[in-house]
C-alpha cells in the first residue's frame, strides 16, 4: 500500500518448490555412505546438485517451470537415473493427497537438514549444511510452509493437483482452450445475421485475444523475487545493449503477465519504459517512466542507491535523471537540459551525491553530443557551485569545468565505472578542443593554443586503468543468476558442441565465447566501457591521422569486446573498418564487406551502416562522374538527420559537406562555395573546429578548381593552421598538397615552392594516406616537374613516369575517371616528348576511355536498388 515498501525477500511456497524439495531430499538423503542410494557415481551425484542449485538461481524467465519441463530437464541430467528420478518425483507428489500429508512432508524435510550441533560429523556422511544455498532454500520452504494459513495449505494442495494433472494431460487442456475460442466464432456469425443493423460484427474476437493469452490458468507461479529481479535486470541490460533484438509486443506481453501476477512489482514499469524507449515510442516511454517513479519513489531496483541511506523522501531526482536521458535519446536537447538542471538542483537539495555525479556526467554527454551555441539562461543558478568562475564562459569552457567537476565527484564517491566514463569523455574533449584560459581577466599564463595528444592518451589510459582494477560494485545477483541460467541452457546441448561450434562457421563464433565469459566476474557494463575506450582510441588515431593505429584499435575492439558491446557500438566499429577498406582497397572490397555488415546489423534502426552505405555510394558516384546519383544519395543522407536544430550535427555536417562536393564536381563553383561557406558558419557557431579545418580545405579546393587560386590560398593556410592546432596530421598533409596545387596554378615560377611543399608532405601521405590522396600527390608532383622550365623530360623520364604510373594504378582501383584521365593525359604528353609514339597512343587511348566513362556514366548494378 501507499508509501510502504514490501520486504524484498518474501517467498511463497509453490508446487514447483515442493518438487525441488523432493529432489533435494534425494540429493541429500541421510546415509552413511559417500554415494547415496540411487546414484552410481560421484559425478552423477554432483550433477544433480548443480542442477538443483541452478534451478534455485537461474533467472531466464518469470514463471516457474511446469512439471513436464522439470521432468524433461531431469532426463537431460539424470542419465541412467532419469526413470528412477521422475518416477520417484511424480509418485511422491501424487502421494500428497490431504493437508496432513503436506505437514508430514515438510516434517521429513527437516530431517534432511543438519542440525546446528552437527558440526562434528563423520567424513562420509551426507548432510545438508543449513547455511549452504540448498540448505537455505529448504529452510525458506519450510518456513514459508509454516507461515501458511489453513486456506493457504488447501490452495497448495489444489495447485499440486493441477501441477501433476497438467503434466499428464498438457495437450488436452490446450485442445480445450482452442475449443473455447472457436465457440465464440461460431456464435458470432449467426448473431450478426440476427441483427445486423449496420454494426461491425467481425471485431469481437480481436480485443479479447490478447487478454486471454495472458489469462491465468491454475498452475502458473512466479519465480522467487530474487530470480525475477535478476531476470528483469538481465532483460534491461539486453534491451540497452540491443533494443532492436526485442520485439515490442512479445516482451510487452511478458511484462503484462508479470504485472498481473505481481501488481506491486513496480520494476515492470521501468522495463516497459525501456522497451518503448528503444522502440521509439515517445508517449508510452514517458507514461511508463512517470508511472514507475510515482510508484517506486526511485527506491526500488537501482543498484547504486546505498540501502542504508534510504530516506523517507524518496529519490525522485533519479526520475529526473532518467527523464533527462530519455529526452536526450529522443533528440529533445532543450528539454533534456532543463530536466537535468532540475535533477542537479534536487540532487543537491537531497544531498544525493551519487545521482549528482551521474547527472553531471549526463549533462557533459549532452553538451558534447549536441551543439549548443549558448547555454545562457539554461545552465543557471544550480550550477553556480560548479561553475563558480562566472557565467560569461563559452559553452566549451563550461563543459570543461563540468567535466572536471564531474570527474572529481565520481572519484571521491569511488564510482569506478563513472570515473572511467568521465576519463573517456575528457579524452574526447581534449581531442577536439584547445584549452583556453578560464579567466577573462587578470594575469594569464601563456598557453599554447594546441590540443595535446599526450593528454588525450593519458585520459584514455586512466580510463582503462580503472577498469582493469575493477572490483565488483554491483550486487552479485545477476552474475550468479546468469551463470545458473547459462548452465541450465547448456543442458540441452550435447556435450562437445562447444568444441564443434568453434570451427563450424564464423556466425556461431560468439556462442562458445559468450559461454566462457558468462562466469567471469567482469560485468557486461565494464566490458562495454573497455570497448568504448578502444573505440575512442581508434577515433583519436583517425583524427590524428594514423590509419594503421586506428585500424588496429578497431580490430581489437571487434575481436575482444564485440560480444559484450551494444549493437550500435559494434556497428560503429564495422563502419570504421569498412571505411578503411574503401579508402585503402577501393570500393569493391568495401562493398562486399558492407554486405556482411548489413546482414549482421539488419535490425538496427537508424543505423550507422545505412549512413555508411550512402557515404560509399556517394563517394563512388562522384569518382565515376555519376553526379545525379551522387546528388540523390546526398539528399537521402540529409533526410536521415533529425530536423531539430543542433541535433545530429555530425550527420548534418556530413550531408552538407557532401552536397558542396557534389556541386564542385558539377562545376557549379559559386553554389558549392556558398554551401561550404554556410557550413563553415555553422561549424564556427557550434565551435566544431576539427570540422572547420575540413570545410576550409574544401573551400580552398573549390577556389582552386574555379581558377581563383589567390582566393584559395588563405583558405588553405587557415585550414593548415587549424590542422596544426589540433594535430590533424593527415589532414594537414592533404592541406599542404592543396596548397602546393594552388601555388602551381599561379604560374611556373612557383613550381619550386609547390614541389618543396609536396615533398614535405609525402612521408605522411604515403604512410597514412588513402589511394586518392596518394594518386593526387603523385600527379601533382609530376605536374610540378612538367611545368618547371628547367626540367627536361628526356633527361629523366622516370621521375615523371613513375609517379604517373603509380597514380594510374591507384585510380584504377578507385574508378576515379577524372583524375585518371588527367594522369594518362600527362603520360601521353611525356611519351610524346620522348618520341615513344606507341606508348603515347596507348596512354591516349586510356585517356579517351576514362573521359568516355566520365561523360556517359553507366552503372552495371544499380547500387540503390537494394537500398
Amino acid at each position: 500500500m501507499a508509501g510502504v515498501l514490501k520486504a524484498p525477500g518474501a517467498f511463497a511456497i509453490t508446487p514447483h518448490k515442493v518438487s525441488v524439495c523432493v529432489l533435494v531430499q534425494i540429493y541429500a538423503s541421510p546415509s552413511q555412505i559417500s554415494i547415496p542410494f540411487p546414484f552410481s557415481s560421484v559425478s552423477q551425484h554432483n550433477r544433480l546438485g548443480l542442477y538443483l542449485l541452478a534451478l534455485t538461481k537461474s533467472c531466464d524467465d518469470i514463471l516457474e517451470p511446469k512439471l513436464e519441463q522439470l521432468i524433461s530437464q531431469l532426463r537431460e541430467i539424470g542419465g541412467l537415473l532419469d526413470h528412477w528420478l521422475t518416477d520417484h518425483l511424480t509418485s511422491r507428489l501424487s502421494s500428497l493427497s490431504s493437508p496432513d500429508d503436506l505437514f508430514n512432508f515438510f516434517n521429513d524435510m527437516r530431517g534432511v537438514l543438519g542440525g546446528p550441533d552437527s558440526g562434528v560429523m563423520e567424513d562420509d556422511q551426507v548432510i545438508l549444511d543449513p547455511n549452504s544455498n540448498l540448505g537455505m532454500f529448504l529452510r525458506r520452504c519450510i518456513l514459508a510452509f509454516n507461515l501458511l494459513t489453513f486456506e493457504g495449505i488447501c490452495h497448495l494442495l489444489t495447485n499440486i493437483g493441477i501441477y501433476c494433472k497438467e503434466a499428464i494431460s498438457s495437450c488436452s487442456s490446450y485442445e480445450l482452450r482452442r475449443l473455447d475460442d472457436s465457440d465464440i466464432e461460431v456464435f458470432a456469425d449467426p448473431k450478426s445475421e440476427h441483427n445486423d443493423k449496420g454494426r461491425e460484427s467481425s471485431s469481437y474476437s480481436s480485443s479479447g485475444d490478447l487478454l486471454r493469452d495472458v489469462d491465468l490458468n491454475g498452475g502458473v507461479f512466479l519465480r522467487t523475487n530474487w530470480q525475477i529481479q535478476g531476470y528483469l535486470m538481465e532483460q534491461a541490460d539486453a534491451i540497452e545493449k540491443d533494443g532492436s533484438s526485442f520485439t515490442l509486443n512479445a516482451f510487452e506481453l511478458t511484462l503484462r503477465q508479470l504485472q498481473k501476477l505481481a501488481p506491486e512489482l513496480h520494476r515492470v514499469h521501468f522495463l516497459r519504459y525501456l522497451n518503448s524507449l528503444y522502440h521509439d515510442d515517445y508517449f508510452s516511454a514517458l507514461e511508463n517512466l512517470h508511472r514507475y517513479f510515482d510508484y517506486s519513489a526511485g527506491t526500488e531496483g537501482f543498484d547504486f542507491v546505498p540501502p542504508a541511506g534510504c530516506n523517507s523522501f524518496g529519490r525522485y531526482e533519479i526520475a529526473l535523471l532518467c527523464l533527462g536521458m530519455m529526452h536526450f535519446h529522443f533528440g529533445h536537447p532543450k528539454q533534456a537540459l532543463e530536466v537535468l538542471t532540475e535533477a542537479v538542483r534536487v540532487s543537491q537539495q537531497h544531498s544525493n551525491d551519487t545521482c549528482l555525479a551521474y547527472t553531471l556526467a549526463a549533462i557533459c554527454n549532452l553538451l558534447s553530443e549536441i551543439g549548443f551555441s549558448t547555454t545562457s539562461g539554461i545552465l543557471g543558478s544550480p550550477f553556480s557551485p560548479m561553475t563558480s568562475v562566472g557565467t560569461s564562459l563559452s559553452v566549451q569552457q563550461q563543459l570543461f569545468v563540468l567535466l572536471k567537476g564531474s570527474l572529481k565527484r565520481a572519484e571521491s564517491l569511488k564510482l569506478k565505472q563513472l570515473v572511467a566514463a568521465n576519463h573517456l569523455a575528457m579524452a574526447k574533449f581534449n581531442l577536439t578542443h584547445v584549452q583556453r584560459p578560464l579567466l577573462s581577466f587578470g594575469p594569464k599564463t601563456s598557453m599554447k593554443l594546441r590540443t595535446c595528444p599526450v593528454t588525450v592518451c593519458k585520459e584514455l589510459r586512466l580510463g582503462y586503468h580503472l577498469i582493469s582494477e575493477f572490483c565488483c560494485e554491483g550486487s552479485t545477483m545477476t552474475t550468479d543468476g546468469a551463470f545458473s541460467t547459462a548452465w541450465l541452457k547448456n543442458l540441452q546441448k550435447p556435450v562437445g558442441s562447444l568444441v564443434l561450434s568453434q570451427d563450424n562457421s564464423s556466425r556461431d563464433n560468439s556462442n562458445p565465447f559468450l559461454f566462457c565469459t558468462q562466469p567471469s566476474s567482469i560485468p557486461g557494463s565494464v566490458l562495454q566501457l573497455v570497448g568504448s575506450s578502444y573505440l575512442h582510441r581508434a577515433t583519436a588515431w583517425e583524427i590524428y591521422g594514423s590509419a594503421p593505429l586506428a585500424r588496429v584499435n578497431a580490430l581489437v575492439y571487434a575481436t575482444c569486446v564485440a560480444d559484450a558491446s551494444s549493437s550500435s557500438d559494434a556497428a560503429l566499429v564495422h563502419v570504421k573498418l569498412i571505411q578503411h577498406l574503401a579508402v585503402f582497397k577501393g570500393y569493391e572490397e568495401a562493398f562486399s564487406a558492407l554486405k556482411i555488415a548489413e546482414e549482421k546489423f539488419l535490425s538496427v534502426s537508424k543505423s550507422r551502416i545505412l549512413i555508411l552505405k550512402l557515404q560509399l555510394l556517394h563517394e563512388r558516384a562522384l569518382h565515376r562522374g555519376h553526379l545525379k546519383l551522387a546528388q540523390q544519395v546526398c539528399d537521402e543522407l540529409g533526410v536521415l538527420a533529425s530536423s531539430v536544430t543542433a541535433v545530429d550535427m555530425e550527420l548534418k555536417i556530413e550531408a552538407s559537406l557532401r552536397h558542396a562536393r557534389t556541386l564542385l564536381a558539377a562545376k557549379q563553383f559559386s553554389q558549392a562555395a556558398a554551401v561550404a561557406h554556410s557550413l563553415f558558419c555553422m561549424c564556427y557557431k557550434f565551435n566544431l573546429q576539427v570540422e572547420s579545418a575540413t570545410v576550409l580545405l574544401l573551400l580552398a579546393e573549390i577556389h582552386l578548381k574555379s581558377g581563383n587560386a589567390v582566393v584559395g590560398l588563405p583558405h588553405a593556410l587557415a585550414s593548415l593552421s587549424y590542422c596544426q592546432s589540433f594535430n590533424l596530421d593527415l589532414l594537414r598533409a592533404s592541406a599542404t598538397l592543396t596548397l602546393a596545387e594552388l601555388w602551381l596554378s599561379l604560374g611556373s615560377n612557383h613550381t619550386k615552392t609547390a614541389l618543396t611543399l609536396i615533398h614535405g608532405a609525402f612521408p605522411m601521405i604515403l604512410g597514412h594516406g588513402g589511394l586518392e590522396l596518394c594518386a593526387r600527390a603523385y600527379i601533382a608532383e609530376a605536374k610540378c616537374y612538367l611545368s618547371d622550365p628547367s626540367f627536361s623530360v628526356s633527361d629523366n623520364p622516370e621521375v615523371v613516369l613513375d609517379p604517373l604510373r603509380q597514380a594510374s594504378d591507384e585510380l584504377h582501383v578507385l574508378e576515379y575517371h577524372e583524375l585518371a584521365a588527367e594522369g594518362f593525359y600527362l603520360m601521353a604528353i611525356v611519351f610524346d616528348k620522348l618520341g615513344q609514339l606507341e606508348k603515347r597512343e596507348e596512354a591516349a587511348a586510356s585517356f579517351k576511355n576514362h573521359i568516355m566513362a566520365l561523360e556517359n556514366p553507366q552503372d552495371g548494378e544499380d547500387p540503390l536498388s537494394n537500398a
Partner: protein, 495 residues
C-alpha cells in the same frame, strides 16, 4: 411456460429460498435438471455469485509478497460455454443475456459483451443491472453513439448516467431534470442531480438538495460522500460530524461511511486519523477512486510526499481521467521542488478538465516558479484560467502583474482594468485595488491621457497609505502640466 407445472415451480421456489439465504451452490444444485428459462437463469446466476464469493475470499487468501495474485471467478469458463450455446440456439431470455454479457465482460471480451447487453436491454428495458454493466463498457462517447438502443424511458436514465461518467455534466443534468418532470418523487434522480451539480461546482444548491434528500430518506448512505465533500469545502464542522454520526449508526462498514469520517477528521486537521478511515474505505472497495485521491491530499498535508504520490498514482491508474489526482501529483512534485517534472502532471490534468481555472492557475504558478521562470508560458495559462470563470480572481491580477514585469504596459493596463472592473462588481476590497489604481494612474499619465489618469488618482485618494500621497502629487503634476501648456518639467517649479 413449463414453470407452470407445479413440481418445477417447487424446485424453483426451493432454489430461490436457498439463493436468498446466500447458499448459492445449494440453489444451483437444486436446479441442476431444470430447463426453463427462469430456472436456468437462477442456476447460472447462483453459480456466478458463488464464483464471485469464492473469488473475493481467495483474493485475501492469496495475497502474495508482490501484491495480490489475480484471483479469478472459476465458474466463468463453464458459464460462458453454457450460455453461448444457449444463445446460439436462441433459447435464452433477456436475463440470461444479461448474465452472458456480464460473463463476457469479466472475460475481457468487451465488444461481444456490449452487443449481448444491448440485446438484453432492448428486449427487457427494466433491468437496471444490465444497463449498469453496459454503462461500464461505454468508456467513450464514440462507443456510446455506436450502440443500437431502442427508445424507451429507461434509456434516458442510462444516458444521463453515462453522460455523468463521461464528464458531460451539463448534458447529464438536463437529462435528469427532464426525468424529474416525470418521476417527481424519485430520490435517485434527486441524488444524481446533486452529483451533477457538484461536478459543476454549484455547492450551495447541492447542499439544499442533499438536505432535502436526507429528510425524505434519512437512512441513506449512498452518495452521502458527495454531500460530505460539499460540507468539507464549506467547512461546516458540525453538519459534517452530524452526517458522519448518522451514517455510522446506519452502516459502519460502507466505503462511503468511512470516507465521510475521513473527511471529518481531515477538516479537523487530524490527518493521521483521516488516513486510517480512507484506508478502511479502500479496504472495503479497492477501486474507490475518490478515497485514493482524498488520501493523497491527507498525505500531502502530512508532508509524506512519496505516499501521496503513490495514492494519487493509484487513482489515475484506476481512472486515467481523474483530473484531481493528476493535479495532486503535480502539486506533490511541485512541493518537492521539481516544477519541470510537475508540469507533466498539470498538463494531464488540464487536458482532462480544461474548464477548471484552478488547474490552469496551478500550472501557471509552476511555470512562474523561481526555477523555471517561463513567464510567457505562465501568461498563456493565466489567460486560459481567466477565460474559464476564475472565481478566486487570481488570474487577472497575475496577468496584469506579469505583463507589467515583462514590459508590456498596454496589456498590463488592459488586465488591471479588467481586474478592477471585476473587483468592483464583486465589491472586493484589498491591496489589489490600490495596486491596480496606482498602475493605471501612472500609466495613463505617462500616456498623456490625463482625464483617465485623474479619475484613477481621485479614486486613490479614498485610500490611506503612501499611495494616497503619490496620487496627490500625481494630480498636482498633471494640473501643472495641463495649465502651463506646453508642458514643462514640474520639478523645477518646486522649491
Amino acid at each position: 411456460m413449463e414453470e407452470d407445472e407445479v413440481i418445477h415451480g417447487d424446485f424453483y421456489l426451493l432454489a430461490k429460498s436457498y439463493f436468498d439465504c446466500r447458499e448459492y451452490r445449494r440453489a444451483a444444485h437444486v436446479l441442476r435438471d431444470q430447463t426453463g428459462n427462469k430456472s436456468v437463469f437462477l442456476r447460472c446466476y447462483a453459480l456466478y455469485l458463488a464464483g464471485e464469493k469464492r473469488k473475493e475470499e481467495e483474493m485475501i487468501e492469496l495475497e502474495g509478497p508482490l501484491g495480490k495474485s489475480d484471483a479469478v471467478n472459476r465458474e466463468l469458463v463453464s458459464l460462458e460455454r453454457e450460455l453461448s450455446s444457449l444463445c446460439k440456439n436462441g433459447m435464452i431470455d433477456p436475463f440470461g443475456l444479461y448474465l452472458y454479457g456480464l460473463v463476457l465482460k469479466e472475460k475481457g471480451n468487451e465488444n461481444l459483451a456490449r452487443k449481448v447487453l444491448v440485446e438484453s436491454v432492448n428486449s427487457y428495458p427494466w433491468n437496471w443491472s444490465a444497463w449498469s454493466e453496459l454503462q461500464s463498457l461505454c468508456t467513450t462517447v464514440d462507443i456510446l453513439n455506436g450502440l443500437n438502443l431502442s427508445n424507451h424511458w429507461m434509456k434516458e436514465f442510462f444516458l444521463a448516467s453515462v453522460y455523468q461518467e463521461l464528464r458531460m455534466h451539463n448534458e447529464s443534468l438536463s437529462k435528469y431534470e427532464n426525468l424529474q418532470g416525470t418521476f417527481t418523487f424519485s430520490n435517485y434522480i434527486q441524488a444524481q442531480i446533486a452529483k451533477a451539480r457538484y461536478s459543476l461546482r454549484e455547492f450551495e444548491q447541492v447542499e439544499v438538495i442533499f438536505e432535502d434528500l436526507l429528510r425524505n430518506d434519512p437512512y441513506r448512505v449512498e452518495d452521502m460522500d458527495t454531500y460530505s465533500n460539499v460540507l468539507y469545502t464549506k467547512e461546516c464542522f458540525s453538519a459534517l460530524s452530524y452526517l458522519a454520526h448518522r451514517v455510522i449508526m446506519t452502516d459502519k462498514y460502507r466505503p462511503e461511511s468511512c470516507c465521510i469520517i475521513g473527511n471529518y477528521y481531515s477538516l479537523k486537521g487530524q490527518h493521521e486519523k483521516s488516513v486510517i478511515y480512507f484506508r478502511r474505505a479502500l479496504k472495503l472497495n479497492k477501486n474507490y477512486l475518490s478515497a485514493w485521491t482524498l488520501m493523497g491530499h491527507e498525505y500531502v498535508e502530512m508532508k509524506n510526499t512519496p505516499a501521496a504520490v503513490d495514492a494519487y498514482r493509484r487513482a489515475v491508474d484506476i481512472n486515467p481521467r481523474d483530473y484531481r489526482a493528476w493535479y495532486g501529483l503535480g502539486q506533490a512534485y511541485e512541493m518537492m521542488g521539481m516544477p519541470h517534472y510537475a508540469l507533466h502532471y498539470f498538463r494531464k490534468s488540464v487536458f482532462f478538465q480544461p474548464i477548471d481555472s484552478r488547474l490552469w492557475i496551478a500550472m501557471a504558478q509552476c511555470y512562474e516558479s523561481e526555477q523555471l521562470h517561463m513567464l510567457e508560458e505562465a501568461i498563456k495559462c493565466y489567460k486560459r484560467a481567466a477565460n474559464c470563470n476564475d472565481t478566486e480572481a487570481i488570474a487577472l491580477h497575475r496577468l496584469a502583474k506579469l505583463h507589467r514585469e515583462l514590459g508590456y504596459p498596454e496589456e498590463a493596463a488592459f488586465y488591471y482594468r479588467k481586474d478592477l472592473e471585476r473587483m468592483e462588481a464583486e465589491e472586493r476590497e484589498g491591496p489589489n485595488i490600490v495596486e491596480a489604481l496606482m498602475f493605471l494612474a501612472t500609466h495613463y499619465k505617462a500616456q498623456k491621457r490625463f482625464e483617465e489618469a485623474e479619475v484613477y488618482c481621485t479614486r486613490l485618494l479614498d485610500y490611506t497609505g503612501p499611495e494616497r500621497e503619490t496620487a496627490k502629487s500625481l494630480l498636482r503634476g498633471m494640473r501643472m502640466a495641463q495649465s502651463s501648456f506646453p508642458s514643462m518639467d514640474v520639478e523645477h517649479f518646486h522649491p
